[in-house]
Amino acid sequence: MKNMFLRTRTTGIKAGFPASHFLCPSKIGGRAKRRGYVLTVFRFDFSPFGRRPLVPFSVFRFIILFSVLTLASCVDEVQFANTPEGNMEALWKIIDEHYCFLDYKAEAIGLDWNEVHARYRGKLNKKMTSTQLQEVLCNMLGELQDGHVNLYTAADVGRYWAWKEGYPSNLNDEIRELYLGNDYRIAAGLYYRILDDNVGYIVYHSFSSGIGEGNIAEVLHHLRLCSGLIIDVRGNGGGQLDYAQRLASHFTNERILVGYRSYKTGTGHSDFSELTPEYLEPSTTIRWQKPAIVLTNRGCYSATNTFVRDMLCCPNVRTLGDSTGGGGGMPFTSELPNGWLVRFSACPQFDKEKQHIEFGIAPTIPCELKTEDVLKGKDTLIETARELLGKR
């Protein structure tokens, strides 16, 4: 290819530049030619003030290199089109790169995320409605079997709730209300009273309801003469991890290892940080020294799952009821080109044996709510816990 030359006469700015104002081409460097490279370079000697170039060639080389570097250095992300295909591809990619249980669930439930892509890609068509698209995408997310995975649209919240809906609830709210009676006390999110057999009873409906050290200290002080304590977190779907750890910290006298956590360090399914140990620090206020039983069911999820994990590491604490629902991954959010919001597990948690707690934690004492007890207005789990605490 021939070297290209350009000679252009331009009009000087009257007030500032002399009349001799040229853009002059000249030769390119010969080294590239000698090496056999084919190279075409424009060279402009900006010489408004005489023959001597005002700006040397090296500066122009730098400018060209700089411009190329600028264009090549744009940091961008692939933007999918707002079509059924584009939204599905965007969702699949988000999960593929950010979801933290793909490897674990491939082993535990045989999940093949690439196969899921191929299967659901075939269910799309360009004429499908928004509702139909939502159904397809929710079904695709359902393959993950994760209660922390949701698809939020203007019309609905896509969800996977089989972790609790497919099991007995082991909870009757009306009967639980009977145990609380009418004279129960409320300290922030804690509902509590002393039962007839001198057993303390605390119900915590949601870890989204805030509790402070002062609240917990007041509750435990009120219950200090009880022979034991029942903490009922059945149906508690989670909330703030801080509240869970704050409550659990009143049941240990020393710093104890309760589990581990990790996070993703890259887009690969196995890209994780090293496990970080999680410790439970003892509270500096009142600490419970007597037996305690935590009532659990499949409705215990997310932060409640972590609370149960932590409590099981505390001395004098047992759990009674059904397995927790799970939810052992801290969720992140992202979004699709059509504006739908997707939530997914991003940071896995483990118990102190470094085992996943995503599918729940088994109780120390398995117990089911019996129909005959319900008919009598009795809660089997509460009665069993009272009996165990009373035996002591």
């Binding site: 940091v75 692939v78 890209d271 801290m330």
Partner: protein, 270 residues
């Protein structure tokens, strides 16, 4: 401001050693903003940005009075939304740069400047629908290269000044969470690897401004111009860009330091 710079060599000769001229300017800008932060969302966000730029420029005694010092404060606020308009990002940032330029005056009316800078920036980008990843913090300290060209000419009996300036960070240290690391995790003390070495290969950024100073009346100098601020990074698998283009307008003030020996006692307040 550039009027003062261009006339500095002549004035400095005529003045005593204690005299110097400082040029202060304050401009406000409004323009467009194009943002991406894959820690928050894979989508591009577009919207507006308002900003201010506070600048001080003066000659120093270094290299036989051929080195100038420039101080730059910049603050921005942006509001952007995704393509479907369902989510809003709010961003704020403040930064400071101290720059030293060597000055050449090849011909009368033209001044070329090249040098380096030390700067620091801090900012935050908040996503209105984020869960455990609702915001992204940005902190960085950089060493930059900087070039500037100032050209002065007379038009319609007015001394106009054109200026172009470009700053590009060459190396520095920046904060970034790991790919899937939550701020909860960082807050618990597990913050290893969150301070990263930055260089054009992983954090190419470029700050450019083109300004025109126009005298209005005897004492007022209006500055108007265009500011192109490109900030990017690709660290720990997190892609970020924040590109803004702003129209700037403000005013310029010149101050002369007359030196201690020239001050009259009656004029000194403190």
């Amino acid at each position: 401001m550039t009027l003062a710079i261009l006339s500095m060599p002549l004035r400095l000769v005529a003045q005593s050693a204690g005299d110097s001229i400082r040029t202060h300017s304050f401009v406000l800008g409004i323009g467009s903003s194009h943002q991406l932060d894959t820690y928050l969302s894979p989508l591009n966000y577009t919207g507006y940005q308002v900003s201010f730029l506070r600048e001080t420029l003066r000659m120093t005694r270094l290299a036989n009075r051929r080195v100038s010092f420039q101080s730059l404060w910049q603050g921005t606020f942006s509001q952007t939304s995704n393509i479907s308009g369902t989510t809003t990002d709010w961003g704020a940032h403040i930064g400071y740069d101290a720059l030293w330029h060597y000055n050449w005056t090849p011909v009368q009316g033209l001044r070329l400047m090249a040098g380096g800078a030390i700067g620091a920036d801090a900012g935050v980008l908040y996503n209105s629908r984020g869960g455990n990843n609702p915001a992204q913090g940005r902190v960085n300290v950089d060493i930059s290269a900087s070039v500037m060209a100032i050209y002065k000419f007379r038009l319609w009996r007015q001394d106009l000044s054109f200026r172009y300036q470009a700053n590009m960070p060459l190396m520095g240290v920046m904060f970034s969470p790991q790919f899937g690391q939550s701020y909860y995790e960082i807050g618990t003390g597990n913050a290893n690897g969150n301070a990263c070495f930055s260089q054009p290969g992983n954090a190419f950024s470029l700050w450019q401004q083109f300004t025109v100073d126009i005298p209005v009346g005897k004492y007022v100098v209006i500055r108007t111009g265009y500011l192109c601020d490109i900030r990017q990074s690709h660290v720990h698998g997190i892609k970020m860009h924040d590109r803004s283009h702003s129209f700037m307008i403000g005013f310029v003030k010149h101050f002369r330091n007359v030196g201690r020996e020239k001050r009259k006692v009656a004029d000194v307040i403190l």
